[in-house]
């Protein structure tokens, strides 16, 4: 519920993983995670236990979800154009980040 922080797995040894949280490393236990975890995977950590392996495509899916949500809710809205323009500007700004 709280302190669920995502981090990147750096090493795995049995049920213990070394996880990198934005440059800070912690040991996280894998007793209850829902899928096998390998270095490079992202996990959601809660009080020292990984509770979810976060599949990377899901992140894009969530962001796309938000975009769809915005588009569908503005379909007949006269102010929709300026919102879309702002989003387009934001996307252009991070164009270099897209894979």
């Amino acid at each position: 519920m709280c302190l669920g922080v995502p981090g990147r797995v750096v090493a795995v040894e049995g049920l213990l993983a070394t996880v990198d949280f934005w440059g800070v490393r912690r040991t996280v236990r894998l007793d209850v995670v829902d899928a096998p975890v390998l270095p490079g995977d992202y996990v959601l950590n809660h009080v020292g236990f990984a509770i979810r392996r976060i599949p990377e495509p899901e992140i894009e899916e969530t962001l796309a979800l938000y975009e769809t949500l915005l588009r569908s809710m503005e379909a007949e809205d006269p102010m929709a154009d300026d919102v879309r323009a702002e989003l387009a500007a934001a996307r252009e700004g991070e164009g270099g980040d897209e894979r």
């Binding site: 209850v32 829902d34 899916e61």
Partner: protein
Amino acid sequence: MSASGLAPPADGEALRFRDPVRARALLRVLERATRPREADPVCLMHVCGSHEQAIARFGLRAALPKGLRVIAGPGCPVCVTDAPEVDEAVTLAERGLRVLTYGDMLRVPGSARSLADARAEGARVEVVYSVAQAVDAARACDEELVFFATGFETTAVATAAVLLGDPPPNFSVLSAHKYIPPVMEIVAEMPGTRIEGFLAAGHAATITGSAVFEPFVARHGVPVVVAGFEPLDVLAGLARLVELVRRGEPRVENAFPRCVTREGNRRAQERLWSVFEPAGGCWRGITRVPNGNLRLRPAFVRFDARRRFEAWLRDPARPAPSPLAQQCVCGDVMAGLASPSDCALFGRSCTPATPVGACMVSSEGTCRIWHQYGGHPDLGVSA
């Protein structure tokens, strides 16, 4: 390949889920969607202290539109830990046992005293970041060590995991864990509430799955959206919920698909329910919540501190609540029936330095957050 959505905030680059541009766009969407209800705001409730923290910390409260009211429900596990439960932990500490607990519980007042008060008078109370640390500490010594286990189902999973991992015999658990879905029923059935939609906690749902809310939605005809905790997650979750309310569609929706699935984390669920069972109990200020507490199953009785130290706990010293405590309306605040500013004690006799109720102690307590961040401050939106 960059860590999409999870990259650290480097110079000039915002976390994808903290992108202020998208956030402002979502705020405008919320504003337009709720404009027809400005005189009679859409009333939504979240049941997670971390959601309240996120809303407060990112300044979202000041930015939410007039036609939307987001109420903080009983989602702070520290706040809903009942006074007699704290008294049990204090009793054990005063008897000379080493008591370990999560940081927030230290200052929560029981009927009269908190664990911090006990510590100031010489009791051995220590803070841990994880229950695993408590087990390690038990392995490293011979004396009895009690872990005062608070938190909702997500945290109970960790306690279950260590109990399944063969802890040493000097380790025991005093369980005050709680389970959220039953309290939503209580709130939805309270006379006087007009909650039109619930925002559910993304991390708890990571464990339980979003399906756990389907019976609730069927029974009460009120939509539930599961949301994460970054600013975009919260705003998008609220936007989706407002939309479902507007359309009169009582459904469960998952707005946190990167962490939540319909079935949830089966492995964690199995471990949780093999160690704990739901039991009726009292949540602070809300009286009885059927099936709202998690107690250790008989198979784990040898680690149950309530059994091991039964003699001491049978008749714990329980002084009468002070006159101030009797005026505390934390229960109403947590049920969404009152806001902190409605309480006569808020900011006067009850402050973070001198808390009367639990809501003022925990960093996720509604009163504490309002006191710290300004409640509904008239601070305006970002330029």
